[in-house]
């Protein structure tokens, strides 16, 4: 096998399905386990549909598809119940991430495992949206005054809400990055330029979806789930192209994140880059090593790089003084 036993094995299989013909049973086992760990097993199933493979591998992938299909059903139902609760408010409700992909039937939605429902609404309408959701059976997850105040003041979303009967969470955003983060995307433009779906809800336009995916790839945590996030971007580019992306990213202050995300998607999945875009840059290889830090047993590897990313991501979210104060208060609460 010429491919390293890390996430590159999975990336190659997704980008070039025919390449799995070279795999022996140990290679298949590693590929399947890795895909499952990266939440890409149903995506892999979709990409390898029709390709010759051992029976046991086909069964594994069929199970992944069945799992994904049920998750998709449940996620679409959450979208519908949100529509029922918010549809009469006269407020634009923009679906984000996986829920948007599946609601709109995008390539990025095929084989996608969708978690909580994420929506974006105008900041001025947060109170009405909150009231409507609470009236329709959602309730707060954590009633803690400090966390709540922190959330409301600085985060880009309401504190988390969970539905009391269905036990599913909804995250209500008013912009796509925390207010304390350095790039500050144009939330009004995201909503104004959103696209209406048949059910009356909205989704971001394609450039904004790519900007959102890129923003969260780097700002939200230590790149875990990065392979899937980049696959989302790859599919969005496949569906919509990237004309106008550079300009839109600049408008949101996300040019650097978007360019890097596109380069990484190109490196992993052969995503086509717009003319004139650089194919690679200095520390991309550092990011690639972190993104592909998964072994054939599904374990995350390369712990030193991982730690570096975690520290960095908190720095991005919060200016150092605020971070210190936040951590101090949290420590005091835990100790006291």
């Amino acid at each position: 096998m010429g491919v390293a036993l890390d996430g590159h094995l999975l990336a190659r299989a997704l980008a070039d399905p025919a390449s799995v013909a070279m795999l022996d049973s140990a290679g298949w086992q590693a590929l399947l386990t890795m895909a499952r760990a990266e939440l890409l097993s149903a995506t892999l199933a979709h990409r390898l549909d029709g390709i010759a493979k051992p029976e046991a591998a086909q069964r594994f992938l069929d199970d992944a598809r069945a799992s994904c299909a049920q998750g998709r059903l449940v996620a679409l139902w959450e979208v519908e119940m949100a529509r029922r609760a918010l549809g009469d408010l006269g407020v634009p409700v923009v679906l984000l991430k996986g829920s948007a992909f599946i609601a709109a039937g995008l390539a990025a939605g095929q084989g996608r495992f969708v978690g909580d429902l994420d929506i974006l609404v105008p900041r001025a309408e947060l109170d009405r949206v909150e009231a409507a959701l609470l009236g329709a059976g959602w309730e707060w997850v954590k009633p803690d005054p400090y966390d709540d105040a922190y959330y409301r003041r600085w985060m880009h979303e309401l504190p988390p809400l969970i539905h009391r009967e269905r036990d599913r969470m909804i995250d209500v955003h008013h912009t796509i990055l925390p207010l304390t983060a350095r790039p500050t995307p144009d939330a009004d433009a995201l909503i104004a330029d959103s696209i209406a779906l048949p059910n009356g809800l909205h989704m971001l336009n394609s450039d904004d979806m790519i900007c959102h995916a890129a923003a969260h790839l780097f700002a939200d945590g230590d790149l875990s789930g990065g392979m899937r996030n980049l696959w989302d971007i790859h599919c969005l580019v496949d569906d919509f192209g990237a004309d106008g992306l550079a300009e839109r990213a600049r408008a949101h202050g996300l040019a650097s994140a978007v360019r890097r995300a596109m380069r990484l998607a190109h490196a992993l999945y052969d995503t086509p880059l717009p003319k004139g875009w650089a194919r690679s840059a200095g520390d991309d290889s550092f990011y690639l090593r972190r993104l592909t830090a998964r072994d054939g047993w599904g374990r995350q590897t390369r712990p030193v790089i991982r730690l570096g990313f975690y520290a960095r991501s908190h720095w991005l979210r919060m200016p150092p003084l605020m971070l210190a104060r936040h951590l101090w208060t949290k420590w005091r609460k835990q100790a006291g």
Partner: protein, 286 residues
């Protein structure tokens, strides 16, 4: 991973990676008569690992990992490593099984028909199944019965039978010539000892059976039998299934069909001999 073990139990293939030789050696010995996963590819991966490198040697604690995990699961001591492996494989089934509807039940087979015994932990379904195995029934499983939504048949999942506390002595006496695992004392669930399903049960593990009777046994009362209404069976089985919701429509049609087509009885029993007599009587009356 340093030490690797793989096995097929019924239609499901597992691989277990371990930082220690001990659990793998125990698994190899007890599952010696079982086949390996089809195509050398396991459906589920389990890992037994030390959370810090030095934990491999100094007061070792076995953490459970794998494809599907529970976030705050407590580690087990190395002497209970076999138990950790069995629990981990169960967890993969409970959280990840998608082809068959999982019934939290034991099952035994005679003449191509399955007796499915379900109920709360401690009701005795594992022990009853193990005893029936020594009385000429084929053991299909002591923890999970697999219901195929397409055919309505029960498929076997004959893992090592998990005997707890008093049941250990009962089966040591009843299963003469049986292959037992080590006695695991003072586990979180008390004393546990594993019994390997007999040769016949292992050899027949890929043969499904038509469900013929659903039984709800309750230990510790005078012998009694009553019919159980389909609606009660339906509710109790959904509560007892870890993957009913995940199977969506297939789960619904499989379970409504099972409930409509299979008689159900609840039995109270004061001791195992009584239970076996009640079972044989019910079976004969079907």
């Amino acid at each position: 991973m340093r030490h690797v073990f793989s096995v097929a139990i019924g239609p499901v293939g597992f691989r277990v990676g371990s930082d220690w030789r001990g659990p793998v050696a125990a698994l190899e010995r007890l599952y010696a008569s079982y086949p390996k996963p089809q195509d050398g590819i396991a459906d589920f991966t389990v890992r037994l690992f030390a959370d810090r490198p030095w934990r491999r040697f100094f007061r070792p604690k076995v953490m459970i990992g794998g494809d599907f995990v529970l976030p705050e699961a407590a580690p087990l001591s190395l002497e209970h490593g076999l138990l950790a492996a069995e629990m981990a494989m169960n967890l993969q089934m409970a959280l990840g099984q998608r082809r068959y509807l999982l019934l939290h039940a034991s099952a035994v087979e005679r003449d191509g028909k399955a007796l499915v015994m379900t109920g709360l932990s401690g009701a005795g379904k594992s022990t009853l199944a193990a005893l029936l195995m020594t009385r000429g029934w084929r053991l299909m499983g002591d923890e999970f019965a697999l219901l195929d939504p397409e055919t309505g048949l029960i498929h076997a999942f004959p893992r090592l039978i998990s005997l707890k506390n008093e049941a250990i002595a009962v089966m040591e006496a009843a299963a003469t010539g049986g292959a037992f695992g080590p006695l695991l004392a003072e586990t979180p669930k008390g004393a546990i000892r594993h019994l390997v399903p007999d040769t016949r049960s292992v050899a027949a593990m890929l043969e499904p059976a038509r469900p013929a009777l659903i039984l709800f046994p309750t230990f510790g009362h005078d012998a009694a039998t009553r019919e159980v209404a389909p609606s009660e069976v339906f509710v109790r089985l959904t509560q007892a299934s870890t993957n009913y919701v995940a199977l969506a429509e297939r789960g619904f049609t499989a379970l409504t069909r099972l409930v409509a087509e299979t008689p159900a009885r609840a039995i109270d029993y004061p001791d195992t001999e009584s239970a076996i007599a009640q079972v044989e009587a019910l079976w004969a009356s079907l």
